[in-house]
């Protein structure tokens, strides 16, 4: 295959464009703001609470505490998230902003017991098993 040897100017152009891309990348990072935290426990292969009520169009940080001595993997196609939670460890998952609706999640290691859902409402007036810190 014949190779095209690029002029140093072309190489410089490529590098400049790469830097531009990196700058845009950094601009994405700096706009991160404070995110409200919501706690979710794993106890005896169950998610506690099994239902979380959250507000629409808002970003949340899900703090998952695995109190079991075995690993679990948080999985949700609805939320587009998948993350390992090691035994007796804490991990965080960022979700949202979400539209109004229900978003199911489960534990890949114990799919029959470790099940739950996030119910997203338009307002913050939901009571009951709401668990926002």
């Amino acid at each position: 295959m014949n190779k095209v040897i690029r002029h140093p100017k072309q190489t410089l152009k490529s590098q400049t464009r790469l830097w531009l891309l990196l700058v845009s990348f950094l601009s994405f990072l700096v706009q991160a703001s404070t995110i409200e935290e919501v706690e979710l426990n794993i106890i005896n292969h169950l998610f506690v609470p099994a239902k979380l009520h959250l507000m629409a169009n808002k970003k949340y940080k899900l703090k998952i505490i695995n109190q079991d001595n075995t690993p679990e993997e948080f999985d949700s196609f609805d939320l587009n998230r998948e993350k390992m939670v090691f035994p007796n460890k804490i991990t965080h998952i960022y979700i949202g902003p979400l539209s109004v609706g229900e978003y199911h999640f489960f534990g890949e290691y114990n799919p029959n017991t470790a099940k739950g859902k996030i119910i997203v409402n338009q307002t913050d007036s939901i009571q009951g098993d709401k668990n926002v810190n």
Binding site: M1, K3, V4, I5, R6, Q10, T11, K13, S14, R17, L18, L20, L21, L22, V23, S24, F25, S27, F28, L29, Q31, A32, I35, K59, P71, E73, F77, N80, R81, E82, K83, M84, F86, H92, I93, Y94, I95, G96, S99, E108, Y109
Partner: protein, 235 residues
């Protein structure tokens, strides 16, 4: 505010697109910037490109292992059919490192880096690829963009820097079936076509992931068609 960042990103990406340059097969996997801790995978990929005078066929077999929550390492054996269609043998080996830079969903977009080092089996030729991986959710759809800078050198190669990009816009319809559109740019190559991927779960971390794409070249009168197929068994 996000709109301005997004426009800036697209503008920057288009700058890349306009002068994309790369030698090898442009149509290949579109990488997501995510790593799952503890995950191991076996991967098989097939790339078949119909050029105006011949057909180029390449396959690769890989094994990957997540080193921690952020970094995964994968090794590949790459096999290609020669131009005379007489032999199909392994041509190169490759080592790949994927690094998840940001936590998924923490910022407006998710970012990762990719490093690949490929060595020809017989000739002393090398290829080093560094790539920036981007993914952004838009409701039930996801936009994934890969931008690669490629350096080649060796006994029969002249040192050069090249550029490739890959774009996938995916509709997360069902786990097993997620239709997508893919766009590729490379050396004198711009291609677009339908694609799809899906995940079939078995037990615990065991799952089968498939990807399929059919890409048609737009940049030349003699259209190339590329078919790519990949199966990953994750465990």
């Amino acid at each position: 505010m996000f709109k301005y960042y997004f426009i800036l990103y697209i503008f920057t990406y288009l700058l890349f697109c306009t002068t994309a340059k790369a030698d090898g097969a442009v149509v290949d996997k579109v990488y997501h910037p995510y790593v799952l801790a503890n995950e191991q995978e076996l991967e098989w990929r097939l790339m078949s490109t119909k050029k105006h005078d011949r057909n180029v066929l390449a396959q690769r077999l890989g094994y990957g292992h997540a080193l921690n929550e952020r970094i995964t390492l994968e090794g590949y054996i790459i096999a290609e059919r020669d131009d005379q269609f007489s032999d199909f043998s392994w041509q190169a080996v490759e080592l790949e490192v994927r690094w998840m830079l940001t936590e998924q969903g923490q910022y407006s977009a998710d970012w990762g880096l990719l490093f690949e080092l490929e060595k020809d089996r017989i000739l002393n030729n090398w290829e080093l690829t560094t790539g920036l991986l981007f993914e952004k959710e838009f409701g039930i759809t996801s936009l994934t963009i890969n931008a690669f800078v490629i350096n080649e050198w060796g006994s029969t190669l002249k040192s050069e820097m090249e550029f490739e990009s890959r774009v996938k816009y995916r509709y997360r319809w069902r786990p097993a079936l997620q239709p997508a559109i893919e766009i590729y740019t490379g050396e004198d190559f711009i291609g677009i076509g339908p694609a799809g991927m899906g995940i079939i779960r078995f037990d615990k971390q065991k799952q089968l992931k498939w990807e399929l794409g059919f890409i048609t070249e737009l940049s030349q009168a003699t259209r190339e068609h590329a078919l790519r197929f990949a199966i990953e068994y994750e465990f």
